[in-house]
């Protein structure tokens, strides 16, 4: 379904080239749900952007549905993305001037699907993600969790081959995070959609079938695929939205999320985990690499999705 072959990516900063990703190789089967785990600056978001065709790698190939997206021109890539790729953003990225339903319909608008057909599909998906009653509201009238559900519905509407989720729970509280992960897991199970979820939180990653761990641009570990039955399915998404007080109480009760150090310790302890690449220290590897135009970008500008994480 998705194959990443010898992907290397670097950018020029002043007169020096800084490597972001080093010969990454892995593949994902159809219907799999995998996590790309890594700390800030590990290169996971860069890898996601490369796989989504939003950036071109310095070297290597990325095959989605047996087509090498690296060789595609911008318009062909746009068409390919329209038909084969769904995207879930950390900050939802809904268009504020459009209603919830119109946001969900948007990818189909670019495919010239009739208004009636796309409306029906959008409403069905909104029901599936648990917010059928919010169709005519604007994004500003929704909570963060609800907006992310809209984003999920939008990513599904074209029935893509693969959905890339970039820190889908990064802006959410723990309770809502569980709900969103639950929705994704259920969708993966019921619709057999392939998901690649970028996260820095192990407790999110561990719910996926496989985990690819990135460190300093190297793919350091690849966990064994979990049998589908072993995946801890989350409870069905709650339709009722919690009040702010309830959410705050819940957050206070919950334990601190695991840090990457703890995760790495856990991973190191795991006897059956396999190192894919050695982990050399490279200059600037601790910095978060920018996507493009690196000469004038700071690390944070280059990857704000990761830059704000603990």
């Amino acid at each position: 379904m998705l194959r990443v072959e010898d992907i290397t990516h670097s950018y020029k900063s002043g007169n020096e080239w800084t490597s972001v990703l080093h010969e990454i190789n892995f593949s994902v089967k159809k219907g799999e749900m995998v996590a790309l785990l890594g700390s800030s600056g590990s290169g996971k978001s860069t890898l996601l952007n490369l796989m989504a065709g939003l950036m071109k790698p310095t070297e290597g190939h990325i095959y989605i549905a047996d087509q090498d997206i690296v060789k595609m021109g911008e318009n062909k890539l746009a068409e390919f993305r329209r038909k084969n790729i769904g995207f879930i953003f950390q900050a939802y990225e809904l268009i504020t001037s459009l209603t919830v339903r119109e946001n969900v319909e948007l990818p189909l608008v670019f495919q010239s699907v009739s208004p009636r057909a796309r409306k029906a599909k959008a409403l069905a998906l909104l029901e599936q993600v648990g917010i059928p009653d919010k169709a005519d509201l604007f994004p500003s009238q929704l909570s963060g969790g609800q907006q992310q559900r809209v984003s999920i519905a939008r990513s599904l509407i074209t029935e893509p081959s693969v959905i890339f989720a970039d820190e889908p729970t990064g802006n959410l509280d723990s309770k809502t995070e569980e709900e969103i992960i639950g929705i994704l897991l259920n969708l993966n199970r019921t619709m057999k959609t392939t998901f690649i979820v970028v996260t820095h939180e192990y407790k999110v990653a561990e719910q996926m079938q496989r985990i690819f761990t990135l460190k300093d641009g190297f793919l350091v570990t690849e966990s064994q695929a979990k049998p589908q039955a072993d995946i801890k399915l989350q409870k069905e998404p709650q339709l009722e939205t919690q009040t702010e007080v309830q959410v705050e109480e819940q957050i206070a009760e919950e334990a601190e999320p695991q840090t990457m150090v703890e995760v790495e310790e856990q991973l190191a302890a795991g006897a059956e985990q396999e190192a894919v690449e050695p982990v050399p220290q490279t200059a600037g590897a601790d910095e978060d690499p920018p996507a493009e135009e690196p000469e004038h970008q700071t690390a944070e500008e280059a990857d704000p999705a990761e830059g704000g994480k603990p």
Binding site: L54, E93, V109, F110, T158, E292, E293
Partner: protein
Amino acid sequence: MKIRDISRMAWEQVKRRKVVTGLCMTGISIGCAAIIVALSVGQSAQVYVTEQVNANFKMDEITVSPGGGLPTNGKSGGGGGGSGEVNENLDPGKLTDQKLKIIQGLNHVKAASPFHQAGYLQMVTIDNKISDVQVVVADLQKLTAYDHKFKQGGANGQLGSIVLNHGATLGLIDLETRQKLFDQMSADPFNQELYQQYDKMATVPTELYRKQVQIQAQDYSSTTPVFKLSSPLQISGILALPKGMDELRSSYEKIMYVSPETAQQLSKELAFDNSTTSVLTLPPEGSYNSITVKVDDVANIKPVEQMIQKLSLNAQDNLFQQEMLKEQFDMIKMAALGIGVFILIIASISIIVAMTMSTHQRRRQIGIMKVLGANMGQIRNMFITEAALLGLLGGMLGVAFSYLIVMGLNKLVGSAGDGMNFFIPAMNLPVGISFAIMTGVLSGIYPAISASRTDALTAIKRD
């Protein structure tokens, strides 16, 4: 992407970004209004002047006169006897009755009738008021075919019945008063008051319908003044004041229309025994000095003229007047259009600036759309449609502005007392709106291309 979806999204943006929309619309509307008003003023002036010219020179009429050629044995053109011998074989250019009938039967000819100017004579009313009139010999029944309208009565086929134009009913003054005023004006030629008084008297109307008048002729060859009065003539109809002509101007054009039979009778009655010339100049019987041909459309003037010329006759139209005017007004219209286009170019700069700003502000939105699969063409089309919509709205506002401006101009001109009326021809509206849309589209091209080239990832990350 369907046109409907592109249009709807463009409309949403236009509604949402009120300041940008307002700025762009204002700029375009001024340019559009400038074009519409400039063209309309040019056309209004053209119509006004054409009407004025038409009042004097009928554009859909041809004046036909004999074509010359070999001299005839008859007394054509001279004497009042009307005894000219018609011999077409010897004078192929003669304007005969037979040729008149041929002309009347030509395609596109609405009417063809002789209008013979027989001379200037004095018209005397029963109460001894006098006025100088031009006697025109014509078929009275056909006057209405030549755009004449009867204010009172109509044409009467009886011998001795006549028709007066509106001017002939004005300024009838008794002989004594008239002579006194003329004497005063001769003695004091720079006295404006006297001239004003004369103009005032010249437009005083007299009720003449169904009244009787006489024609007075003077024998200028005699050493002592010798006058002759015709038998009474019955006024059967009075023509209305022609459109576009005022009372004072019509008072300078006093015409008495008489039938050929009445003209013959007058010629006999007013002939002086010892004079060699008649007071009325009449063409030889069976032939004419001039006929006027009315054509159904100005466009058919030239073909009809060519047919008439084939009859060895001279044909002259008044189209050269119109062509001369057209050239002048084409220049005025081009200049007006130039001014409007210049204003639109200035307006387009504001659109480019506003749209470019708008593009920059919407980089994030463009980025999202590109990630969701919008290609460069779709993004470009969305922005160009938005710009075209701004152009359309600006154009519509411009139409409203142009009507307000024209209303203001009419008030201004109306208060100045001029008879000119400004109007907006319907054709100018689509022209103005098309220019406005074109300005919108052209101004939107750069921002649209700029938007379509926005890098999706950078757009999403930077905001």
